[in-house]
Symmetry: C2
Subunit: 331 residues, 2 copies
DNA sequence: TACGTTCCTGAAAACCTTTTCGGCACGGCT
DNA sequence: AGCCGTGCCGAAAAGGTTTTCAGGAACGTA
């Protein structure tokens, strides 16, 4: 099962066998053919440890995530896994469970396995501590940016997403647009709200209800806020929810109040979380953060940086609006 | 950064340095101390590739999943990751996207990386093709069993889960219990139904509505089936739903019909999918498949089998009932 | 002093591959 | 005939570690 066996079967030296299998030019075509045949006959596959030891490339990367159960890591992880493909690169998955010292442990383990690079996926879209600048491999931060601006971070453009949602509502002819969103301590909530307000201002509109409704990332808050909103501003004709969960709560109350969606009130969510949007009544128009794409690009950037050098700063990824039946033009 | 550097700094040979760091007995205490000091001073961490090359143990395992986005792989993956810990073992994550040839590719890559073992996580609870018996490393199938009974598979006990749910409803004093569930081609749906019917028979009860309602794993089906059920059997006092999604649909219709949950009708779901059960009105009693535990045990079994040998057959894992407000004793 | 023990240390082989470089054979040229 | 160039192949080193085994020192005993 080793190269030596292949070489013996083909009647050549290991050196020649190696060159034959790796497409090196200094080997006669007929010899190469014999080696290839021997290799496939023995079902030979090279020991990547030995390869890595000598080439100083392992063809592995570490994926350091902080919460696997969180729904944001997964699409990014899939995108990255996808981009690396099965060809050359394998991915070490490490979940730090949000624990800093576990993260250091994982980091240490990954480095001693000589990974070629690292992708760090945060749990919340707010910035997280840098792993440090003195690592022997390139590092890319995804979703949650590093707090060190010299690192390279890829994040979702929340402000753009908020603008996108409101823009769509305006194009649907809505004029009394409210915004119900989650925890105000989340940068993402602030950014989405800023984008929404910006687009409204551009149109000369005020936010319906007089303010952005910050609260929690839950259906219950979506329900509660909607009731308060309807009391203060009964003629609202569109609600932009800061998450699909909140949007579900919003829909629930509108349904109870017999306010037709989308004819009377249009609703836009955020996240494009399939289980929520597909089952909603009616199916929910929402902003998709394009996380798979983000993961894919992270992988590509990392791949390009291996051996070379990495950029720095925070790169924002635009989301995209996915329209379903919860929004429609007025009449 | 290599062992040679450590040895040089400590004034010993690499052999002695290796033995000192690995706790081998044939080294004087003072010498060991010097080596340890040198190692920590240089922040030395051994090259696991070289170690693996010589010890024939890489301390890595492959996690071969068929659908990452599926919600079932993730908890299992977390349990496994958890059990391996950061100490010795790292996990290669490979997602085959349900594609058979991609799976073969990944398998080949993992073997050439000399993983010490494999965990295969299926997408559906039905059986899947075996990877074969002639692999050089132990393999454990999780969630979806292998179709070869000589392999070792760890799966969730769906029949037990169905029994558990109905048992709880009976203890709550319910007598007219219905079962609305998903796609009849899923073994899991059949098993849960069998468990439910078995427990009912044991109590001398018939299923309310006269039959198990098979359909789809969606809220919409939950709503539709509930309407039909209420028409055929208006005095139903409990509904066991085959998934939390379906249960959400059930709750929705009961809410519309002003049938109080749990006083008038009790509802039990399946999966304990947090986003759905926590946000439900009222929060949903449900069966938790204990998938993290399953993943954890899979990892432990695999770890034990490395070097040794593995059992075979299908091992079932009991679920557990998580009670919330959607069920309560009658009066 | 000579010898056997015990304890510790280091040289070297091994794991498997890649890559460099020297060498061999052969043909063509002067 | 002697020389050079070209094309192909193999010996050997390298990568970093573990493990075996031989040897040296110190010590006690005869």
């Amino acid at each position: 099962m080793t190269l030596r066996d292949v070489a013996r079967l083909a009647g050549v030296s290991v050196a020649t066998a190696s060159k034959a299998l790796n497409g090196q030019p200094q080997v006669r075509a007929s010899t190469r053919e014999r080696v290839m045949q021997a290799a496939s006959q023995l079902d030979f596959s090279p020991n990547t440890l030995a390869q890595g030891l000598i080439t100083q490339r392992t063809g592995t990367v570490g994926l350091l995530t902080s919460d696997l159960e969180g729904r944001f890591s997964i699409p990014i992880l899939m995108g990255a896994e996808d981009a690396f493909g099965t060809d050359q690169t394998s991915v070490f998955l490490c979940d730090a469970r949000g624990d800093n010292i576990r993260e250091r442990h994982h980091l240490r383990a990954l480095l001693s396995r000589r990974v070629d690079g690292l992708i760090v996926v945060g749990a919340r879209p707010d910035s997280r501590p840098s792993l440090g600048r003195d690592l022997p491999v390139p590092v890319i931060y995804a979703y949650a940016p590093s707090d060190d601006p010299r690192d390279l971070s890829l994040v979702s453009d929340n402000e753009g997403g908020g603008r996108l949602a409101v823009d769509h509502l305006i194009r649907c002819g809505r004029r009394r647009i409210a915004h119900i969103t989650g925890d105000a301590t989340y940068g993402a909530a602030q950014d989405r709200a800023r984008g929404a307000l910006g687009r409204l201002a551009q149109e000369g509109l005020e936010i319906a209800g007089g303010e952005v409704w910050f609260g929690m990332w839950s259906e219950a808050w979506g329900r509660g806020a909607t009731r308060m909103l309807l009391e203060r501003c009964p003629d609202v004709d569109a609600i932009f929810a800061g998450s699909d969960e909140i949007a579900r709560g919003v829909l629930d109350v509108l349904h109870e109040e017999r306010l037709d969606v989308p004819r009377r009130v249009a609703v836009v969510g955020y996240d494009n979380w399939n289980i929520l949007v597909a089952n909603a009544r009616p199916p929910l128009t929402t902003v998709d953060m394009n996380l798979e794409e983000l993961g894919r690009v992270a992988a590509q950037r990392l791949f390009a940086a291996i051996g070379g050098t990495l950029g720095s700063g925070i790169e924002k990824f635009p989301g995209k609006l996915v329209t379903r039946e919860s929004t429609a033009p007025l009449r």
